[in-house]
């Protein structure tokens, strides 16, 4: 029994979604750099999210990838903040990315939209961090310390992740992977 093209596509998309979920947890745990700069890990997992959303190109796919990645991170790095907040730190950025892609022209292989989307997605993690701190009863004075630098760094690392993702997507388009073959034909991958 042969599968329809739509069914094959769905399997391919699900494979990419699962792979990106794993890439997120690898980026967050295994490849974590020993530098004490808030948000630096975002370069890798935001790049993974941008690449995944750029390849799958289905509404909600970034949220799904982030959910898988978040669940894996929560299992591999259990923290006292609980699974809900750990997962939310990935799902919310994923949802922000999903929400922004159509507004930004739907092409994450273009540098400017990818940089902006990556920065906004990663910045939304700061909001989750703040909400977590407030709910945990952390004094606002403690939460506020270094908040400006933390927010700016999350934006910067998210933008860097978006840039990295866009460059990888451009390479994938040039390599004519099946999911992006139609974009290669447009000749606008640069």
């Amino acid at each position: 029994m042969s599968r329809t093209p739509a069914a094959r596509m769905r399997v391919a998309d699900m494979t990419v979604i699962a792979l990106v979920g794993v890439m997120i947890v690898i980026g967050k745990t295994v490849l974590r750099m020993p530098i004490s700069v808030p948000g630096h890990a975002g370069v890798l997992w935001i790049a993974a999210l941008v690449i995944g959303r750029g390849v799958v190109r289905r509404p909600g796919s970034a949220t799904l990838m982030a959910l898988i990645g978040g669940l894996l991170v929560a299992m591999m790095q259990p923290s006292d903040s609980g699974m809900l907040f750990t997962v939310a730190k990935y799902v919310i950025p994923g949802a922000v990315l999903d929400g922004l892609v159509p507004l930004l022209g739907g092409r994450l292989d273009r540098v400017v939209p990818a940089v902006v989307a990556g920065a906004a997605a990663h910045a939304s993690k700061v909001v989750v961090d703040l909400a977590q701190g407030l709910i945990a009863g952390v004094p606002t004075g403690v939460l506020a310390v270094d908040l400006t630098a933390g927010t700016a760094l999350h934006i910067a690392f998210g933008a860097l992740g978006g840039l990295l993702g866009a460059l990888v997507l451009q390479s994938l388009i040039r390599a004519r992977i099946p999911q992006l073959a139609d974009l290669a034909d447009t000749g606008r991958a640069s």
Binding site: D80, G106, A136, A144
Partner: protein, 168 residues
């Protein structure tokens, strides 16, 4: 038109990349800039410059089996006497963890679990009694909170913004 067909339409040239995309980029950039400005406002209003770090209500609790043994503000931690140690190429200054436990009346223990806010790390570290030496300190950070540092605590393991030390 769903996003996939919209993207296909863009690719086909049927729909020119319109001004809406540029406006969206500008709006998102503006929102991000507003976010940074809001963070700066919150930071400058929540902690007045030069104010003592103790004014932020921060405290470290020492507990055993859920029972509160002691709670120390930053000034009390500093008053215990600070120790400066060099670990992993950095200088960390604060009271020794053993001194804090001793002050809380803890004489014997098998392990301690360091709990933090978890906003900058995993927020949890379990240290066996053998892992805690005289050079294991609660470093007093510029942000007015403490983090754990020591020869047996790698950078990745460090818990910042400590709120509780659970003794077992």
């Amino acid at each position: 038109m769903d996003s996939r067909s919209a993207e296909a339409a863009l690719d086909d040239g049927r729909v020119a990349p319109d001004v809406r995309t540029r406006i969206a980029i500008a709006v998102v950039a503006l929102v991000l800039a507003t976010g940074v400005a809001a963070a700066w406002w919150f930071e400058s209003h929540a902690s007045a410059p030069g104010a003592p770090a103790t004014s932020n209500g921060y405290a470290v609790k020492v507990t055993r089996d859920g029972e509160l043994l002691a709670s120390y503000g930053l000034a009390e931690l500093q008053a215990m006497g600070t120790k400066t140690v060099v670990v992993q190429g950095g200088t960390e200054t604060g009271p020794a963890l053993l001194a804090v436990l001793d002050r809380a009346g803890v004489d014997t223990f098998t392990s301690v679990t360091i709990i933090g806010t978890g906003t900058r790390d995993t927020g949890r570290l379990v240290l066996a009694a053998g892992d805690i030496g005289p050079d294991t300190v609660l470093d007093i950070a510029k942000r007015g909170t403490v983090k754990v540092a020591g020869p047996n605590v790698t950078r990745d393991q460090r818990v910042r913004d400590i709120t509780e030390i659970q003794v077992r």
